[in-house]
């Protein structure tokens, strides 16, 4: 079946939306190659339609068999980004998966919580690293005898006191590494659960 301009436009529109969706999480070359393959599939299907048929219905039928472009993009995300994150557990793929998850409301709050966990871990490790360099400025910060923060202050003014000796270094390191490991474990579990959702039934 040879497509008219209207039919071609419809196919190009589908591929455009799919490409835009894929480009949000895939390397450029990979997204282009996936689009090329899906386009090849569409043309292959259309070529096998013989006789006088309604072009619009035929094109819509082929696209419907493929699924909505957003769903196809989700399937790519589930197979590639999420699969890599779950299988390897490497921080970069996990962060990439969390970034994708954060585009939905539920995912945003989950990703935000995990981000706080990671930040907490990094914060503790920074405190441990800064303590030997600025021993008087790093520790538990008291204002008028009331603990207000744990970390570093640039200058210790009147009414402010920094307490905690070098014993804070192993404690902070332990807390930091612990927070990072726990958060990362939670992140992997969450990404695995999310992947299961994406790979779920896709019939409309």
């Amino acid at each position: 079946m040879k497509l008219t301009e209207a039919g071609e436009l419809r196919v190009r529109g589908y591929l455009f939306v799919l490409h835009r969706s894929l480009a949000t999480f895939m390397p450029k070359e990979m997204a282009q190659e996936s689009i090329r393959e899906v386009e090849s599939h569409i043309l292959e299907r259309l070529e096998r339609i013989e006789g006088a048929v309604d072009e619009k219905a035929a094109v819509e039928g082929v696209l419907q068999h493929l699924g909505p472009p957003m769903k196809v993009a989700q399937a790519f995300a589930a197979e590639i980004t999420f699969e890599e994150a779950v299988a390897t557990g490497r921080p970069l793929p996990v962060f990439r998966a969390l970034f994708l998850v954060a585009t939905s409301l539920q995912g945003f709050f989950a990703a935000l919580g995990l981000l706080v966990g990671y930040a907490l871990g990094v914060g503790f490790i920074i405190v441990a690293a800064l303590k030997p360099i600025f021993p008087q400025n790093v520790g538990l910060i008291l204002r008028d005898g009331v603990p207000t923060a744990f970390g570093a202050v640039s200058s210790v003014g009147p009414g402010t006191e920094v307490v905690g000796g070098y014993g804070l270094i192993p404690l902070s390191l332990f807390a930091g590494v612990g927070a990072l490991l726990l958060t990362h474990r939670l992140a992997r579990a969450f990404v695995a659960w999310w992947r299961g959702r994406l790979k779920g039934p896709t019939d409309e």
Partner: protein, 115 residues
């Protein structure tokens, strides 16, 4: 879990195995793989889920890919099992034979008791 969800999970688990089985012979392109699966199984509900799976299997080194321009009216991306893919498939087939055999035996026994 509804019956539909259970069927979907079975399909999901079986699709990867079926795709690898489809590629034991000569290289095939995506549409050819889908047609083969559609003719012999009920695994393909949405064609759009097969290409992401093929992409992942290729990234995992189980398949090699090659664009061929002169075997059809437009270029096609052919997939072929790698040595690693063959080894994986052999393992999957061994597991499947044991798994299906045990379930079959259980189902046969249950069928008798259900009557």
């Amino acid at each position: 879990m509804t019956l539909e969800n259970w069927q979907e999970q079975l399909r999901r688990g079986g699709l990867e195995f079926a795709v690898l089985l489809t590629l034991t012979g000569p290289p095939r392109y995506g549409f050819e793989i889908i047609r083969h699966l559609e003719e012999s199984t009920d695994l393909v509900v949405n064609e759009g889920t097969v290409y992401p799976l093929l992409t992942r299997l290729a990234r995992q080194g189980l398949l090699t890919t090659e664009w061929v321009a002169d075997l059809g009216p437009h270029p096609r991306k052919y997939y072929r099992l790698t040595l690693e893919g063959r080894e994986r498939l052999n393992s999957m087939m061994r597991h499947w034979t044991t798994f299906a055999g045990k379930l079959d035996a259980l189902a046969t026994q249950a069928r008798g008791e259900l009557r």
